[in-house]
């Protein structure tokens, strides 16, 4: 059974298990996502579903978006992503993807855009250790040090330097599913999800996940 869904991060909270342990969870509102288009091997060279999430008002949508969604009988969507599928197509254009069959999903991966950190130095951005604060170091202790040697007398490409950090797509793996509430389109994941509350996320079950064997 194929599963994958688009959603929006709502925020974090916690609840108690029966034995009194607190569990920190991220609440994600996921679906319903209409299938806007089915990509096939013959036509597109790969199999995937194009899902939409968060409908746009008629006023906000332009004609191209409206026309594209119209083919599957929907209005324009704010967040549209393709999720790959192995082999044949189970779903057709216009089908709605929901959390209805997610009860037995144990673990998921979440893709989302991390919070932007702006222009950051190497210590924050690449976990450099910086320079010594004492012993005659005369420059800023947060500098990165050397960026190359005398030969080849140039800086090799790919050297880690200061720059823009965050605001990039991040895959958070291994988040176990704490609770699924299909009738309210909510899924609760143990742990944190990248990005701000209100940010769009893609959720897909971990491939080949086996629930851990209970230790006695």
């Amino acid at each position: 059974m194929w599963r994958g869904i688009l959603g929006r991060k709502i925020g974090m909270t916690q609840f108690f298990t029966e034995d009194g342990k607190r569990v920190g969870v991220t609440v994600v509102e996921a679906g319903p996502c209409p299938v806007l288009q089915v990509r096939t091997q013959e036509k597109d060279g790969y199999d995937a579903y194009q899902l939409g999430f968060d409908p746009k008002t008629e006023k906000a949508a332009n004609k191209a978006e409206t026309g594209h969604a119209k083919k599957s009988g929907n209005g324009a969507m704010r967040f549209i992503r393709e999720i790959r599928v192995e082999g044949g197509a189970e779903l057709n254009e216009g089908d709605k993807v929901t959390l209805a069959n997610w009860e037995d999903v144990g673990e998921v991966q979440v893709l989302s855009k991390s919070k932007g950190k702006g222009f950051q130095g190497v210590m924050k951005r690449h976990n450099f250790h910086g320079l010594r604060a004492t012993h005659g170091v005369k420059t800023n202790p947060r500098h990165g040090g050397s960026i190359g040697s005398l030969t080849p007398a140039r800086t090799p490409s790919g050297v880690k330097m200061p720059g823009h950090m965050g605001d990039e797509w991040v895959t958070q793996k291994g988040l176990s599913v704490a609770k699924v509430i299909p009738e309210r389109n909510l899924i609760m994941l143990r742990g944190s999800v990248p990005g701000p509350a209100g940010g769009y996320v893609i959720i897909r079950p971990t491939q080949g996940y086996q629930p851990p064997v209970e230790k006695k």
Binding site: I10, T13, F16
Partner: protein, 124 residues
């Protein structure tokens, strides 16, 4: 806080929480699992702080054990807490009674609050 989160928290929160205030001397009935058996243990002391809100709300109880101050922080909505019984209402002028930590002996006592609008509801 997002309305959906508020709704979810409400479902997990206790419907009724025993009322108590900072400065109260309380008995906290907490269930402990000992091996196979479960029993109720009572932690008695003064509530010196309340923290957090919603399902995250917690309170700190301070007591003296053999002359040594012991503080326990309880999550208010934990299913491990059976009930909280207020024994005595202290008249206090601040929300956090951290100043009690620096006091020993007689100085740790709190004046009882028996004013009409504040005093402990003994009807229950």
């Amino acid at each position: 806080m997002h309305p959906i989160i508020n709704e979810l928290e409400k479902e997990f929160m206790k419907k009724e929480v025993d009322s108590f205030e900072v400065g109260d001397t309380v008995d906290v009935h907490c269930r402990i699992v000992e091996g196979e058996k479960e029993r109720v243990q009572i932690f008695n002391g003064v509530v010196i702080a309340k923290n957090g809100g919603g399902i995250n709300e917690s309170f700190t109880v301070r007591r003296l054990v053999q002359g040594q101050g012991v503080e326990r922080i309880f999550p208010l909505h934990s299913p491990r807490i059976d009930k909280i019984v207020s024994k005595r209402r202290g008249r206090v002028q601040r929300a956090k009674l951290y100043y009690l930590r620096e006091r020993v002996g007689k100085a740790t006592r709190l004046r009882e609050d028996d004013r009409e609008n504040y005093k402990l509801d003994t009807k229950k």
